[in-house]
């Protein structure tokens, strides 16, 4: 049976693109892909601490880039005939994704696996705390 609601984590990585392709493949006629980008507080803090950017600059960059990834994912999914809605949240992905999965009655969370960028631990934390199945795409 096809999942009704897929929660897809969208970021800049190529694994995230691969995860999108899998989400589209897994979609049935009744499936909605809920694509979410999280403006990661940890990344904001890192950019600010390094002196690379001010807090406002870091937030603007991460928010705008995040929306770009979301609209790009939306374009890809809709072009393939898949149903998709997009949203952006702020916080920590390991907290935001399980919360959204519960709120929206998600059957399946799909994320890309990018070792070395904290995603491995995100996958582990999701498997531990998500209220539904988690698919990690390599």
């Amino acid at each position: 049976m096809k999942p009704k609601n897929i929660l897809l984590y969208v970021d800049a990585s190529k694994e995230s693109r691969a995860a999108l392709d899998v989400a589209v493949d897994y979609s049935g006629l009744e499936t909605t892909i809920i694509a979410v980008n999280v403006v990661n507080r940890q990344t904001v803090i890192q950019l600010t601490r390094s002196g690379e950017k001010s807090l406002a600059e870091a937030e603007v960059e991460l928010e705008e880039n995040g929306w770009c990834y979301l609209y790009d994912a939306e374009e890809t999914a809709k072009s393939a005939g898949a149903s998709i809605v997009i949203l952006q949240e702020s916080g920590y992905p390991e907290e935001v994704l399980p919360r959204l999965a519960s709120e929206y009655g998600v059957d399946l969370i799909i994320i890309g696996h990018t070792p070395g960028l904290g995603q491995a631990s995100l996958a582990q934390q999701l498997i531990e705390h998500a209220p539904c199945a988690v698919l990690v795409v390599k």
Partner: protein
């Protein structure tokens, strides 16, 4: 960031509708597309309406926080064009967060245009209208020019 296309540079008093009377989403979108087509001299408004509604059917464009953001690529325009509408009363839009919309912005890009510019324009607009202070100011403006000035002030 590249492609610094600003919303205020795309707006004129003609492509801003304040206190739109339509009470349902479909009627509101029809009104917006009709006005957009008139302002931009669209050759085939029905084709444009189809393109927007077909995209909408594949995923609600309510992006949360009371914003509706219908968008499409179309052969009917030669450059990125927008229309901003503020309903007289919040409209049930079917957004994921369940909130009715207070602001709707339609953006149409040429189907053969620069996709990167289109994505960045939508990203900038989404971020801008995601700010509560921007939405609060836009809820209070009394004229289209005031709306443009408000948006320009936040973009600069």
């Amino acid at each position: 960031m590249m492609n610094e296309l600003k919303l205020s540079s795309l707006l004129t008093p003609k492509n801003i509708l304040l206190d739109v009377k339509e009470k349902e989403k479909d009627a509101l979108l029809a009104k917006i597309i009709k006005t957009f087509s008139e302002v931009n001299n669209i050759a085939d408004p029905e084709a444009l309406a189809r393109e927007v509604t077909e995209r909408e059917a594949l995923g609600n464009t309510g992006i949360g926080r009371g914003i509706g953001f219908p968008h499409a690529k179309s052969s009917q325009v030669e450059e990125i064009s927008v229309l901003l509408a503020r309903p007289a009363r919040p409209i049930e839009y079917g957004a994921l967060d369940g909130l009715p919309v207070n602001l709707v912005i339609l953006i149409i890009a040429p189907d053969s245009g620069d996709n990167n510019q289109y994505l960045h324009a939508m990203a900038r607009i989404s971020r801008l209208l995601g700010k509560s202070e921007v939405r609060e100011k836009l809820a209070q403006v009394k004229t289209p020019q005031e709306a443009i000035d408000t948006i320009a002030a936040f973009e600069n």
